[in-house]
Assembly symmetry: D2
Homo-oligomer: 266 residues x 4
């Protein structure tokens, strides 16, 4: 499906503030960027670099006063995500070198905690190693963790969420990743857009590496949904914050849209 | 200056033909991509990857029949290119590791030929090592090599051009790079757009690494000109062909435009 | 100084166990590998790859039964580590792109916790931003955290250590990194060898990026000490474990040596 | 087989001369470095970096006077190289992104010359696309190009060798690569050691990417021979010179050895 997705951020900047942003999707597996726009008002100098994972990162200094960023992309996406019930676990010695990284614990995915590996063992009891385990984890989170805004903050980890039993897409994702890694299933976080997400917002989900492929899992959804746009991926939210600010500024509004009709004016 | 630059390629494809393209500029030093569009007709699956130099490369199979590619970008560019007469040579032992690569001879820049180093020595006789040498080379080419379409082909090297004394922007660039490298000045090829180029076309120029900075040199121009958009860079044209085809297809038309007014419809 | 450093690990392997190791130092800033040896008994197939940070990682399957790994390197090291009291903070907008990564919180360095930033603020009250802050943090840890084996484990974070007030070199390092990052000083973990460390063991310390340079800080020491061999570096211990095992095996003995006389037989 | 391979270079240095060297093999596919030594006399500061292909490169300034470099490695190698008659060509659209690079023409492998592609077409007439073509090229070179020292120099390309019909291992390799690439078979140069090479010297051969695997081809040999140690690989000799000097120095002697008995003293 051809999607037009974008967001607009409006700020009051109390003092010139360095910003790092990840708001520009790249063409890649399952998505092709037909067009995109990245605007600021007022216009300021921006530099862009590619991080360790290949994500595009923008650096700028938000000027004191009102500041606005608006990005939009028209993207060809896949209508369906791949699923493969029964796909076997890729055992550690067969994992590609660059995938091993996603087995390690990270800031928000402390897969080394005993409480995580114990819960994972309970969830996948009797389930065949591989895809079905990751899916069991996804389904368990969807059933057992309540979705509610305002119940977590930027320091909340997957272990916290397991204890709190409540969170948002970021927390669902961190928990899913933590549980997968504790079973030696490589897992990573994706942030981006999802068509028909309700309520509309920037979204997060996870991918698990099984039988040679990165499969998509979204614990906030009750069934597999395609039409996703990846903006960035990494080990967890520490790697893929859409915005990191280094000074005093306030985001007043953030609007996000994903439309199936690309005729929206760019 | 805010430029709208683009190109449209029209093909007759005799049989399904794999293509590799480099037609998507990236934000980077001196340029910020405000918006861009990359369209094909008919639409076909495309993948994109980043090459060794960080350039974006698109891969697709051109389908049999009529095929059209159209790309356009609105880009904030610098009105002036930096110049620094008198800037000293960075001696080899002080070059950054990743710059050494651009001292080596390459397909179209055989800087190891004696004829190249001899000519370079003549051109820079009495000139201070560094920026002034690169500028002397640029000026010498501009004066001594005649610009004429159809006088060279895809196998022509900088050494050929030194002998022929005629060529196009690609040949001017290869010769400039060859001469610089023979003096231990790292040099690389850039392909992209230049505002007010006459006649308008995709363009090529070179950069030389001097005193810690990559400076722009364009041997086709009589004076320094800014408002350039880099699409790709590499050792020479082998690295940065805007299109590489692996099969039978014919390009019927190629239109290129660079406008200073970004209100052109995307 | 020319150091001969090495270690020997002896295992009882209950079942064939995949291992990832980081036991091969590379030549780099401040160290030159004159010779090295990497032996296993029994000999098994090994592959080696370079991780995201450039560290060399070895992968193998430890065979059931007795297994032994022995590595040794003769390395030219610097007798002194650089120090620069008064060196100013590099402000965020001036940090190189690839250094920004080391400002982010990580598994064992939760620099985003309020308790960390509050403690950091107290420690550096009245201290000039930059080198002196990092040194104040190092000295504070050396004074206020007790060094004791067996008081922490593989899940212990810098925040835990701040609370516990006790730990080993790994914990001292994680706390130092956490505190530095909370002040927008990029910091990373180094594991390796230190001459005359008492008791001798594999060691860990941190580096902070100040005024364009990565400076060495070791909170376990009372004064600056050189003659270090870096084996690996990364965001924290999750990135630079010298050994990660994926199955049942027991390390029986681990011997580590660092000698100033390279005449030790290799 | 466990090989001990090394070389010793002796120089008269007329003036302090920057050197770039590639004399340290890395563990990788088919080879495991058990131990290695890298010595200089007199000892000078050296830095090491990894180039675009992952090769280790050493930089130093050779001091005026007598200078000596001696490197040696004990390496576990494969006794046999893989062969796969009948393996089909990997068509361009199925090549991995990072392999495409090795289809492009390069300094010493002008695969874009018509004389090259015409000769390639003659050599492989009637041969099935893929492994058998690369092997036909290798055999043709072995039969039709005469091996003789002193018949080529550092500017000689594969096209020159096709014309001259004489050369050394480097020239055989460049010609093989040129011919393969002209048939859309990715090919790259390897430099290293070969056990029982006669006369003993640093050696060069090529690899061709066929059916998903890089196969080894050595046009200087009449039959497949294993027990090779790769020191570096790249597009051609411009990428993988074991030594590049930037100033006046003379190599007096170069000794190379490859022994099957690792008991040689390191």
């Amino acid at each position: 499906m051809k999607l037009t997705a974008g967001c607009e951020l409006q700020f009051d900047v109390q003092d010139d503030t360095p910003l790092m942003l990840m708001l520009r999707p790249r063409s890649g597996a399952g998505q092709w960027i037909i067009s995109e726009t990245y605007e600021m008002e007022p216009e300021v100098p921006v530099t862009e670099f590619t991080d360790l994972y290949g994500n595009l990162c923008q650096r700028l200094i938000a000027p004191t006063g009102k500041f606005r960023i608006r990005t939009q992309a028209v993207v060809q996406t896949d209508d369906l995500i791949a699923t493969d019930p029964g796909a076997p676990l890729t055992i550690v010695q067969d994992l590609p070198d660059d995938v091993l990284h996603f087995l390690l614990p990270s800031r928000y995915c402390p897969s080394d905690y005993l409480v995580i590996s114990n819960e994972a063992a309970r969830i996948v009891a009797g389930v065949a190693p591989g895809y079905d385990q990751a899916e069991a984890i996804r389904a368990w989170i969807n059933t057992n963790i309540r979705y509610e805004y305002g119940t977590s903050d930027s320091t909340t980890s997957g272990a916290d969420t397991l204890y709190n039993k409540v969170g948002v897409c970021r927390d669902f994702t961190h928990l899913g990743i933590s549980l997968c890694r504790s079973l030696s299933i490589p897992a990573r976080m994706v942030v981006g857009y999802l068509h028909e997400l309700k309520p509309m917002d920037l979204h997060a989900w996870f991918e698990a590496y099984i039988n040679g492929i990165w499969y998509t899992f979204d614990a906030t959804q009750t069934e597999p949904k395609g039409n996703r746009i990846t903006v960035a991926y990494g080990r967890d939210a520490a790697d893929v914050a859409f915005m990191t600010q280094f000074g005093p500024m306030t985001m007043n509004t953030m609007e996000v849209w994903v439309d199936a009709d690309e005729t929206v004016a760019t």
